[in-house]
């Protein structure tokens, strides 16, 4: 069994989840509370990865992160290496691919918070940032946890985007879903079945967790 591919998958999912929860929280906060011109356009842009075919996202990421794209070019100038076909590359891809799944539940949780609570926090002397940390976050725990679980599940399932941006380098970019695909291509159904089976309990437990969180949010 390809433990290495499973390891890369889990590592990728954990890194993506941690980065996205931290990154998405302030963006979701702005989308929930701030008013600024062009907000609906920004919001649609953030949700775009959800609506695009993964191969299309992958294609644009190759263009952007390739040596001639501006992100890839900057990266090459700074480090001398390539972003494509590296773990860092597929991490960036995975973050963009899962961004909507982090933003959406967090924004929903933040929007549910009564504005009077925030006003009371301001009256009591809290800055906007302190109010976010001391009032908004603790009252959105279940929404943030739901976002984390969704992002985790979504990233362990990523295939097309990662294949395009990262290829299939064992130990670096070859994730479990790519390993399954390659095993099936080589008619090695036993190997494919083993990896596939290992996904079942993970996904099932996480789904149970989501249900628990949703119940918690409703109570």
């Amino acid at each position: 069994m390809d433990y290495l591919a499973l390891y890369v998958t889990l590592k990728l999912a954990v890194v993506t989840t941690v980065v996205l929860v931290v990154l998405a929280a302030p963006i979701a906060y702005l989308l929930a509370f701030a008013r600024f011109p062009g907000k609906s356009f920004v919001e649609a842009l953030i949700y775009l990865p959800m609506a695009l075919p993964p191969t299309v996202i992958g294609f644009y990421l190759i263009i952007l992160m390739g040596p001639r794209g501006w992100v890839g070019g900057l990266w090459q100038a700074a480090t001398g290496g390539s972003l494509l076909f590296t773990f860092l590359g597929i991490t960036v891809a995975s973050i963009i691919y899962s961004l909507p799944f982090a933003i959406q539940p967090m924004k929903a949780a933040f929007s549910k918070i009564d504005r009077r609570l925030l006003e009371n926090a301001y009256i009591l002397g809290l800055s906007r940032r302190a109010a976010f940390l001391r009032v908004v976050l603790p009252n959105s725990v279940s929404g943030i946890a739901a976002a984390a679980v969704l992002v985790f599940l979504h990233s362990i399932g990523a295939f097309g985007v990662l294949l395009m941006v990262g290829g299939s380098i064992p130990g670096e970019t070859k994730v479990a879903s790519i390993a399954i695909y390659e095993a099936v291509e080589m008619m090695n159904y036993t190997a494919a079945g083993m990896i596939a089976l290992s996904f079942l309990p993970i996904s099932y437990v996480f789904l149970l967790l989501i249900n628990k969180l949703n119940e918690g949010a409703r109570a």
Partner: protein, 236 residues
């Protein structure tokens, strides 16, 4: 003392009111719902800005449209008790009251005074509306406010609880050293608590409003909604 002259264009009328209140005194704003009372309180707190006017507290200017001054609510150091829902749901009553307390040890004394000492560890949704409002007052007082604003603090409560709290609050008033501005649409409450009454109707001071409401049928042009509410309040 606090002095405010406020003008703001609202959807259905133009608000134009001035008010003042001395330390240790209570000004009660009364009038029909939708008459601009909450807007006035929010402007004093800095949660909304007047179009024109001044808010002066002692020798500090909190708002001055001519000079472009608008002090943030965070810097005004005041207490604001909302009608309901202002306690933080994730904290127990004690942590709520201690949230911005100058000295957390004082919270115990306040809880004693308001008889919610036994509920310290409870979350807001586990106690009654009256107990929540008691805690909200503790939360506001623990910050040592320089001005206390109360926006219909007891109106979501049942009659008996409301009357009890009203009396407790009146006895507390003597101990407060800051100006208190209190909003209600209940004439009994206003007469019971106020040092000074400011009737506000459609955004303007209307000194005859209370008298008219008590003695006469609603006149034409006066909203029936506004006139009936205190009439009901007089029954009990």
């Amino acid at each position: 003392m606090i002095f405010a002259a406020l003008k703001k264009r609202l959807k259905y009328f133009d608000l134009d009111v001035s008010l003042s209140c001395l330390p240790g005194r209570m000004t009660v704003m009364i009038g029909p719902s939708g008459g601009g009372k909450t807007t006035i309180i929010r402007m004093l707190a800095g949660l909304q800005s007047p179009d024109e006017g001044r808010v002066v507290f002692g020798d500090e200017i909190w708002f001055d449209s001519d000079r472009g001054i608008n002090v943030k609510p965070q810097k005004r150091r005041l207490g604001y008790v909302f009608q309901d829902y202002s306690l933080f749901p994730h904290l127990n009553l004690f942590d709520n009251a201690a949230f911005a307390a100058v000295d957390k040890k004082e919270v115990d004394g306040l809880f004693d005074l308001f008889k919610i000492d036994h509920l310290k560890k409870r979350k807001p949704h586990m106690v009654s509306g009256g107990e929540r409002q008691r805690c909200a007052i503790c939360q506001a007082l623990a910050r040592h406010p320089r001005l206390l604003l109360l926006d219909e603090p007891f109106s979501a409560l049942d009659v008996v609880t409301r009357r009890g709290l009203r009396e407790e609050f009146k006895s507390l008033k003597g101990k407060l050293a800051c100006p208190v501005i209190y909003v209600t649409h209940d004439i009994n409450e206003a007469l019971f608590l106020a040092d000074e009454i400011l009737p506000v109707v459609d955004g303007k001071k209307d000194p005859g409003w209370m008298q008219r409401t008590i003695t006469r049928e609603p006149k034409e042009g006066m909203t029936a909604r506004g006139a009936r509410e205190p009439r009901l309040a007089l029954v009990y």
